[in-house]
């Protein structure tokens, strides 16, 4: 059986930073397994930037960054983890700068910073509107430099552990179609988010299907705060493709059909730069109350107007956004406003992990969007995700290096591989009564209906029932492609099954959290309720296959909960 001291699953920002960290320790065998080639991961799609209190443009401090983050999270973030992240931010940004990351610069040569939603100062370091892309490229370059081993186009099937310690994973080499057990002393999951649950309207890549999160759930380990899904305010009208918050950071306006900058009603001070949950609700409210636009296909939207920024600024700071708007909407933002509507964007919840990425099983780590540390609480601030992935990727890498030097490999039973082979083989033998594409779309509709931007008990309960029904019906989805080589029919089916598993873990705690906090907004409980719900939800799957819900306290250091006004 193949074995590595440390196996990293996922090659986005968190996975690559973890890999870099481990590659500094000589003599360890480390591999990065990814279902796509490195640099394809969704980190690359992050556009606007990464937060750090460098204070290059205005005086700033890690404390202010931490406060903004905690307030943005609607006080659900664990404050010790937030403080650590914000404290590390300036150093890790400089570390990447020293690796060659091509940040945009001020005239004096220092890293430029732009304003972002929910931040008190221009704190977001950026490289035009391609920050994630160049970050991913830079980290990959450094991994090549350090000789990191990559298993490209491998798909994670399961995480194997004995209840106390991790012993490895089972994964499929997509190119050969073969299923392998991989033994490892430590496994770092950096598999990204799961907003593809909302298949029909999301900014996410096709593969953001929560593969690691679902594997952890199936392995009987806890997920945290799964009810919190961020809807980004500005997805393109037809496709939900992301238009960066940087567009508003640079001064873009949101306009309704009456020609108003409607944010004045919702966040008079911060206007378009209020946190994402508030801006998304504002847009949806405008549309619900009849002040949106409607096109001939029935798509409803508002406008993001950049015209007043002028040609030069748009070409210099937002070149990609301009091109996306032209290619996907036929609109040149220099000449016309961009039609936008909120789009499912980010998973605040995920694998329950502590501030070093450790899960309850020793040697198993989670970092990046698949993890819930939690630094984003009920709502993530723009620019904090690229920070989260590098900080916690690095820390998980460091801790894993220390861990593996003290332990031996655990035995890895062949039966674990057999079980996954049987699970995969059964998909070829299903009766095909249900169609993958139809069911995937149905799941998306149900989730948008029951667990979207506005939620209420009745709809959520209907959604839960429907999700469970879809889970049953999913047993009839058949893989028709009988070839082993690069069977994307099989891959898409496995990804869909992961989404089904995850959908249930979103709706269940959403029903039980009888309050509104951050992205979880309930029309039947419109107020935050700190007395009863200033706590993390935990979902686990028992041996009987049923989900169990419990709660866990929030870590509060010095920022006492207060009303969130912008």
């Amino acid at each position: 059986m193949v074995q590595f001291d440390i196996l990293i699953v996922g090659a986005g920002g968190a996975g690559l930073y973890a890999a870099l960290e481990t590659s500094r320790r000589k003599g360890l065998s480390v591999a990065v397994l990814s279902k796509v080639y490195p640099t394809r991961s969704h980190t690359g799609a992050a556009q606007g930037g990464v937060n750090a209190a460098l204070g290059n443009v205005a005086p700033d401090s890690p404390e202010k960054h931490a406060y903004d983050t905690v307030k943005g999270s609607d006080f659900l973030a664990d404050q010790d983890a937030v403080e650590m992240m914000c404290e590390m931010a300036p150093k890790i940004i400089r570390e990447m700068e020293h690796m060659g990351l091509p940040f945009s610069r001020l005239e004096d040569g220092r890293i430029a910073q732009r304003p972002f939603g929910g931040a008190s100062f221009p704190r977001t370091c950026y490289a035009a509107d391609k920050t994630g892309h160049v970050m991913l490229q830079t980290l990959y370059e450094q991994c090549l430099k350090n000789g990191v081993k990559f298993l490209n186009e491998w798909f994670l099937l399961s995480v194997v552990h004995n209840g106390e310690r991790v012993s490895g994973v089972v994964a499929m080499d997509l190119r050969s179609g073969r299923i392998h057990g991989i033994r490892a002393k430590a496994v770092i999951l950096a598999t990204g988010g799961h907003a593809r649950v909302y298949w029909n309207r999301t900014s996410n890549a096709l593969g953001n299907t929560g593969d690691g999160t679902a594997a952890v759930l199936r392995a009987g380990l806890p997920l945290k705060d799964m009810e919190f899904i961020q809807f980004h305010p500005t997805g393109l009208r037809r496709t939900g493709i992301l238009v960066t918050e940087g567009a508003r950071g640079e001064g873009g306006y949101l306009i309704n059909s009456k020609g108003e900058r409607f944010m004045k009603r919702y966040a008079p001070e911060k206007m378009e730069l209020a946190p994402r949950d508030m801006v998304s609700r504002a847009i949806e409210t405008e549309i619900l109350e009849g002040r949106g636009f409607r096109d001939e296909e029935g798509n409803e939207f508002v406008y993001l107007d950049l015209r007043h920024l002028g040609r030069k600024k748009i070409l210099e700071r937002l070149p990609q956004i301009r091109e996306l708007a032209i290619d996907f909407e036929g609109v040149d933002p220099i000449e016309e406003p961009i039609p936008v509507r909120p789009t499912a964007h980010y998973s605040m919840g995920g694998i329950d992990a502590d501030k070093l990425g450790r899960t309850p099983v020793k040697g198993l780590y989670a970092a990046g969007e698949c993890a819930c540390i939690s630094v984003h609480g009920a709502n993530r601030l723009g620019g904090n995700s690229l920070l989260d992935i590098v900080v916690f990727g690095k820390l998980a890498g460091e801790d894993a290096v220390n861990f593996v030097s003290e332990v031996d490999f655990l035995p890895f039973a062949e039966s674990e591989v057999k079980r996954e082979e049987e699970r995969v083989n059964s998909l070829f033998e299903a009766d095909g009564k249900e169609k993958l594409a139809d069911l995937r779309s149905e799941l998306s509709d149900v989730m948008s209906y029951g667990a979207g931007i506005f939620r209420e008990e009745k709809k959520m309960k209907e959604a839960l029932e429907k999700v469970r029904e879809i889970k049953e019906r999913a047993k009839h989805v058949k893989v028709y492609d009988g070839e082993r080589t690069f069977n994307t029919n099989l891959q898409q089916t496995l990804e869909f099954l992961n989404l089904v598993d995850i959908a249930e873990t979103i709706v269940l705690p959403a029903i039980e959290r009888k309050e509104s906090r951050g992205a979880h907004y309930r029309t039947d409980y419109p107020k935050r309720d700190d007395e009863n719900f200033l706590k993390h939800s935990i979902v686990e799957r028992g041996d009987d296959g049923e989900l169990r819900l419990s709660w866990k306290p929030v870590v509060i250091t010095k920022y006492q909960p207060e009303e969130r006004k912008y």
Binding site: K91, P102, A205
Partner: protein, 321 residues
């Protein structure tokens, strides 16, 4: 809303099973705005689950989905079906895998070779201790005008479109490849890099002079990177660091000298200056024919009328660079 009946001819091939590639036809009703990628997924969802293609971000940043659409490399995710139909005046789109790489299955090609090649060319920053601070308490200073020199080349998403249409790659196994060489240049002009112009020696070792400047790499790049510009500049750097005694450098220098002397290209002296006596002998048969037909000019050329102005322009241009 406008809809059209479109015929998709898709090249299928599973090397494990098929003797050779074949084309399969699918008919699809396409609404306005639908991308090639959406069409592919719809065919997979409703007609043929065995169709194999790669896709990920669907917003033109991950580089997964490049395929040939009616013969030209395109990112499937950002290419609208109607635009292509209109461009070609047709109702048929032919989709094929990229060239210059082996097919793994259908539209999926084997990327190992181009990426391995890139790795051999060391495309990563080696920090210059004079510029990059020793501690994490400081940033290196990079001025906007310095960033501008290499920023364009950091847009590359490794989609391999340029590689697939590169003529030099097709003919020369030792050739570095367009995106790979452009990355070498990217680091050669990064003020933080310790190797700086010395990196052009890597370009030299990987046959950068074999680029024929056909410009295809620039034409097909979905991110407007224009690798050929990087390659040309990398050649310039190689002359600066002293790699002058080779046909490529001598050829460029011969052009330069010619222009300085007369303002015209001295085609008679060009073979001698580029390849020496060997070059003259190689070109002799053609040369004699040209002389006989009265097409060859004298080796001694009179300067053109505005020669002094030209020399001034050339000097200013070089200062700007």
């Amino acid at each position: 809303m406008e809809k059209r009946e479109v015929l998709f001819r898709i090249r299928r091939f599973n090397p494990k099973r098929d003797e050779k590639p074949y084309y399969q036809e699918y008919r699809l009703t396409v609404p306005k705005g639908m991308t090639v990628l959406e069409a592919l997924q719809q065919i997979k969802d409703t007609q043929d689950p065995t169709l194999a293609f790669r896709a990920f971000c669907r917003s033109a940043i991950c580089g997964s989905c490049a395929v040939k659409v009616n013969g030209f490399p395109k990112l499937a995710c950002k290419t609208q079906v109607f635009n292509e139909l209109d461009k070609f005046g047709t109702d048929t789109l032919t989709l094929e895998p990229l060239d210059n790489m082996d097919v793994i299955r259908d539209l999926i090609v084997d990327w190992d070779r181009p990426f391995k090649r890139m790795e051999e060319m060391k495309p990563w920053l080696v920090p210059d201790p004079e510029v990059v601070p020793k501690t994490l308490d400081e940033e290196s200073r990079v001025y906007p005008r310095e960033l501008k020199k290499f920023d364009q080349f950091t847009d590359c998403i490794l989609c391999t479109s340029c590689y697939s249409s590169c003529t030099a790659t097709q003919l020369d196994d030792g050739y570095g490849g367009p995106f790979q060489l452009a990355r070498v240049y990217r680091f050669a002009v990064d003020p933080r890099d310790a190797l700086k112009a010395e990196r052009s020696k890597i370009g030299y070792a990987f046959d950068m002079w074999n680029c024929v400047r056909c410009n295809k790499c620039a034409d097909v790049c979905p991110k407007h990177v224009s690798p050929v510009d990087g390659i040309m500049k990398l050649r310039g750097l190689s002359i600066e660091v002293g790699l002058k005694d080779n046909p490529g450098a001598r050829h460029v220098m011969a052009f330069y000298k010619s222009l300085l002397e007369s303002g015209m290209l001295n085609e008679v002296l060009l073979p001698l200056r580029t390849k020496g006596v060997k070059g003259v002998l190689e070109n002799l048969p053609v040369g004699i024919k040209m002389i006989l037909k009265g097409k060859a000019h004298s080796p001694v050329m009179k300067p053109i009328a505005e020669h002094e102005t030209l020399v001034k322009v050339m000097k200013v241009a070089m200062e700007v660079e």
